[in-house]
């Protein structure tokens, strides 16, 4: 039965508004979260990764979910579902947070921007695989608010040290947006949403653009000599070097934000007052320390360790497992992240893993592997 459907599987995948551009650029396409997306282009993952660290790369992240949650009291009401301080979020500022399950497990992670204007509106960007579930949860839990899903908008990320100069070639006057800041802009008479944030550890922007202008906008950015296209492969290796969680891998509904190393995203007022799902568990983890922690891991030797590999105490039993692992093009060596029993979450501790029946030593290391280079030209109270 399933075999008879197999040939059609490909056509069930959604395409982004940049699909034909990807094909023209020679992308190797792959399925991801129900979408057909570029895995890499002609340059290959390593070249795209290094280009991002040196210049700037354009990523199609249109599979992410975008929505506007609006209505009186929206900022206070969304705090019933997320542990970040949203009441304190200034207009045109963005904050990273997590949608939590009743027990404090992470249902999804998301970016929340308070939009300017008289009406209270929050712009949400959520993960592709979770967006239907997230939007259903928001409608169910916050029926007094309106949720407008922005299905008509593509999302592109421009990331790298030359991102600001490349972006302002097409859209002048945006280079003073602070890190985790947001600005409305105009392109060909249509409204763009520009956020200074990203998923690579570099300075960069995520730009929401109406579908019908997505290709023209992407081509305008690609016309800049410092900008090259990059695919999901480089996006994953860049975020691993930056020590950032990939939902469904480094974090899921069994993980709370504290053990995931995301306590920094929980506002001080929220830590004291609670009022979000799983407060008891998260308060206990904040007070006593979590029983396990997400750590950086440096496998010794040249072979990458992948997701799922076990982590053992020296000559002992299993005390954790790798949740993301691969090769770091910047460091030319294998790197990984995973969860370990807190007793072993100390920098420099040597653990063991297994690769194809061989023992591999793994050192607990600090994150990120490659220092963040976010724009710090203006200080903001964006990280409480």
């Amino acid at each position: 039965m399933s075999e008879s459907f197999a040939p059609h599987t490909h056509s069930l995948l959604e395409k982004t508004p940049l699909d034909s551009l990807h094909h023209r650029l020679g992308a190797r396409m792959a399925p991801f979260a129900g979408y057909e997306l570029p895995l890499h282009y002609k340059a290959g993952v390593v070249a795209e990764h290094l280009h991002t660290r040196e210049k700037a790369s354009l990523f199609d992240v249109s599979h992410m979910g975008q929505a506007i949650l609006g209505g009186r009291g929206a900022a206070g009401l969304i705090e019933r579902l997320v542990p970040a301080d949203i009441l304190d979020l200034a207009p045109e500022r963005t904050r990273y947070s997590q949608l939590l399950a009743e027990d404090g497990g992470v249902l999804d992670d998301l970016m929340i921007t308070r939009l300017p204007g008289r009406d209270e509106r929050l712009l949400l960007v959520v993960n592709a695989a979770a967006k239907a579930q997230d939007f259903a949860l928001l409608r169910q839990e916050l029926p007094q608010l309106s949720l407008g899903v922005l299905a008509g908008r593509a999302l592109v990320a421009l990331q790298g040290p030359r991102a600001a100069t490349a972006l302002t070639d097409s859209l002048p006057g945006l280079d003073d947006i602070p890190f985790m800041g947001w600005r409305a802009a105009e392109f060909c008479g249509a409204g763009l949403f520009v956020s200074r944030s990203g998923y690579t550890g570099e300075d960069g922007f995520e730009i929401s653009v109406p579908n019908h202008l997505a290709e023209a906008f992407a081509e305008a950015l690609l016309a800049h000599p410092d900008v090259a296209p990059a695919g999901l492969g480089a996006r994953d290796s860049l975020r691993l070097e930056a020590g950032l969680c990939l939902y469904g891998h480094d974090m899921d509904v069994t993980t709370d934000p504290v053990e995931a190393g995301l306590a920094w995203s929980i506002g001080r007022r929220r830590r004291e007052q609670g009022g979000f799902p799983g407060f008891d568990r998260i308060r206990a983890a904040l007070t006593d320390g979590p029983s396990r922690k997400r750590v950086g891991l440096l496998p010794q030797g040249r072979a990458p360790l992948r997701e799922g590999a076990p982590l053992m105490a020296p000559n002992g039993g299993v005390i954790g497992r790798i949740t993301s692992g691969g090769y770091s093009p910047t460091l030319s060596r294998p790197i990984a992240m995973g969860y370990v029993d807190s007793a072993f979450a100390t920098l420099g501790v040597t653990l063991e893993s297994r690769l194809r029946d061989n023992r591999v030593f793994v050192e607990v290391a600090s994150l990120p592997f490659v220092p963040h280079r976010y724009f710090r030209g203006q200080t903001g109270k964006d990280r409480s």
Binding site: H40, V45, G233, A303, Y327, R356
Partner: protein, 125 residues
């Protein structure tokens, strides 16, 4: 017995007398993408046809190379330890993996020649 042979797994063999130099095809390397590590067997090891011969790690994933014929490993390409990207750059030349002493020449007859492999690639689309 000499000449070049191919498998449906996109392995490449260059046979000289009773030694087969084994690598992966240009198509295979292009599908794997950037290769960052190659795990090779120990010289002296005997492998059966279909047995595990090597592991190729690309940026994203590990791929096994299975022995296209039976034989004894007489040499491995140790240059790949420092420069695994040679498999991408020159898979049929400097990026070879293993030299096997052929145990059963009849197994070579079951493999494809270059024309047959080209036709196979086209049929795969």
């Amino acid at each position: 017995m000499s000449g070049e042979r191919y498998t449906k797994d996109h392995d490449f063999l260059r046979v000289e007398d009773d030694v087969a130099i084994i690598g992966i095809t240009d198509f295979a390397q292009s599908q794997l993408g950037d290769i960052v590590f190659v795990e090779l067997p120990e010289p002296g090891q005997r492998v059966a046809k279909g047995g595990q011969l090597a592991t190729i790690e690309s940026v994203k994933a590990a791929s096994e190379v299975y022995a296209p014929i039976s034989g004894e490993v007489i040499e491995v390409n140790s240059a790949l330890e420092a420069a695994p990207a040679k498999v991408n750059e020159d898979p049929l030349g400097e990026g070879w993996l293993v030299k096997l002493r052929v145990a059963d020449a009849a197994e070579l007859e079951e493999l494809m020649d270059e024309d047959a492999y080209r036709a196979f690639l086209e049929s795969e689309g």
